[in-house]
């Protein structure tokens, strides 16, 4: 069985590395990016099935990048990483069609199950 293709983006390098390593244990991390814009470009070339995006990044936030990808015909599913546990962020994530919202401090426990769940068909709703 081929491993599912995943993109990871975070502007904080230690965090990006951690997330990538965590995901690589189970998925094929096809690209990494350190801002929203780079994530968009990488997604356009690599066509990942799912993008794990930090919700707030410089240049272009994860939210904005997700909103852009939503218009694509083969748009990847999106799981957000965030330090914010406010409902307004969760609402915003939901509005751009995110499939998951993971708090960074509980990544170790929540990220892999959330990504797994997000890759299920039909696409679950956050």
């Amino acid at each position: 069985v081929s491993r599912r293709r995943i993109l990871v983006a975070d502007d904080h390098l230690p965090m990006l590395r951690y997330a990538r390593d965590l995901l690589a244990s189970e998925f094929d991390v096809v690209a990494t990016a350190c801002n929203g814009k780079a994530a968009l470009e990488a997604a356009a070339t690599c066509h990942p099935e799912l993008a794990v995006l930090d919700i707030s990044m410089p240049e272009m936030s994860g939210l904005a990048a997700a909103a852009c990808m939503a218009d694509w015909p083969d748009c990847p599913r999106v799981v957000f990483l965030s330090v914010h546990d406010d409902p307004e962020f969760v609402d915003a994530a939901r509005r751009v069609g995110a499939a998951g919202y993971v708090l960074k401090r509980s990544m170790a426990v929540d990220l892999l199950p959330t990504v797994r769940r997000a890759l299920l068909d039909p696409q679950p709703v956050l």
Binding site: D11, H12, P14, M15, Y18, I55, S56, P58, S61, L63, V83, H84, D86, P87, E88, F89, D91, A92, L103, K104, R105, S106, M107, A108, V109
Partner: protein
Amino acid sequence: VVAVHWSTEDFPGTAAANDSMRMVFRSRPDLGVEYFAEYLESDRFPGSAKAALRDYIRHKYRGRRIDLVLAITGVALEFVLEERDELFPGAPVVYHGFDEPAPGVRVAGAGVTGILNSAGISETLELALKLHPSTQRVYVIAQAAGHPAMPSARMALQPYESQVDLHYVIAPSVRDLMQAIDSISGPALILYVRYSSEQPGQVLFPTDVARRVGEAARVPVYTIHDAFLGSGIVGGTMHETRQTAARAAAIACQILEGRRAQDIPMEYPALLPIFDWRQVRRWGIDPASLPADSKILSREPTFWELYRWYIVGAVGVIVLQALLIVGLLAQRARRRRAEAEVTKSEAALRTSYERIRQLARQLISTREGERSRIARELHDNLSQQMALLSIDVDQLGREVEGLDPATARVRALAARAGEIASDIHDLSHELHPAKLEMLGLVPALHGLCRETSAAAGLDVALHHESATPHLSSDLALCLFRIAQEALHNVVRHSGATRADVRLSLECRTLTLSVADDGVGFDPASPQAGGIGLLSMRERVHLLGGDLDVRSAPGAGTTVTARLQLALAEPANS
């Protein structure tokens, strides 16, 4: 009282003397004087005049007592003294004339006294020569039938023969005289003593001749008798007939009061320089060179004398007007200066106000920038580090699961790391709401209301329209800060149980209001507001909006900010 004149009644000097004497007697009604004047006219009737007048007086005054006789001129005195015993028995005589009476006459009979005039011929020439120093020739006119004019003149002028060329004009007729006058010119003078013509059909008084001479002469004419003045003659040294006649009448009054004529000394009145002003001007004589005691006749009032009050008035009005104008100009200048000052200080005030606003804007934006930078640092780095730390601690917790004391300590560690992460997040959010930048004003306000409700135990609701425009970060931050500050005040001061935050858009005017049901305050009181309201107001003003605070004690408070959307921002995006 009978006055006996030598000359005719209508001779000008005679009339003046009569008039003057009558006035004196009239002023003494206590004496009860009846005044009569008789005229000898022996110059015109040399053979018959004396006898005729004697008979006339004798018949005329029959039965009347004559108390006093006035004799005018020496000829008249001679007649009166000759006829006194018969015509005026016992009457004292008052004499008015030029010739000194003989020594015995004064005390003889009822006595004689009076006025002795001097002819003033030499004095007049002296004066004339002084006023016309370049004079070389003097023509003397002194010719009168029965009158000693010529010899008197010759005698009086003898001393001047060496000084000037003296010519005594001999003219049998007035025509001859006028011809002679006509030929006189150059540096010469005419001294008119007297001239009369008794030629039948051509009787002329000395006054008439004087007028003709004065009018025709091409050189200055001087005279010795005031009766000749007023018709072209400059003047001379003489007596005033009216004055000397009045003196004579006054002496007569003394006698009528009871004094003896012999006891009253003869009077010698002083000569007086008299001038005709018109002639002084005509001959260009400097008025300052006239003797100080001169009497000036026919003086034309000067322009100044005529119009003095008009001139004074006009000058006064002009000066007043000038002062008024100067005053008005000065006041205008002062007002302009003051206006310029005001304009200048207004401009300075405006400049400094603008500078203060600029500074306030810079202060706010600098502060916001700084807070935003720190917030980002907290979020972008510290929060991530804390998250990683939490992950590591959790990992550690799983690894030491079961090891009794370690498990509990790692859990405590994880809890503390979580608390620190939460604190950092809150601090970052407090400094600069990431939500506002990332999610926009409405979600940020939602968060604010929710957090305030949770923190203060107060019901805070947000009301907004579904379509809210995308706002510039300045505008969004301003409104967020106002809501933040207003809710802060609600929590701290109002004691409210409920607050409503409303955001609405109408005709490009964005209105944010925060209303509470708390205790309110009096906006007019000096303590009202404080730094919070002040900074809210300043923030709104910086973006060209206005802030309205409505409150009353016990009626809650509503803070309303109104801001215009900039044209670049579509109202409906």
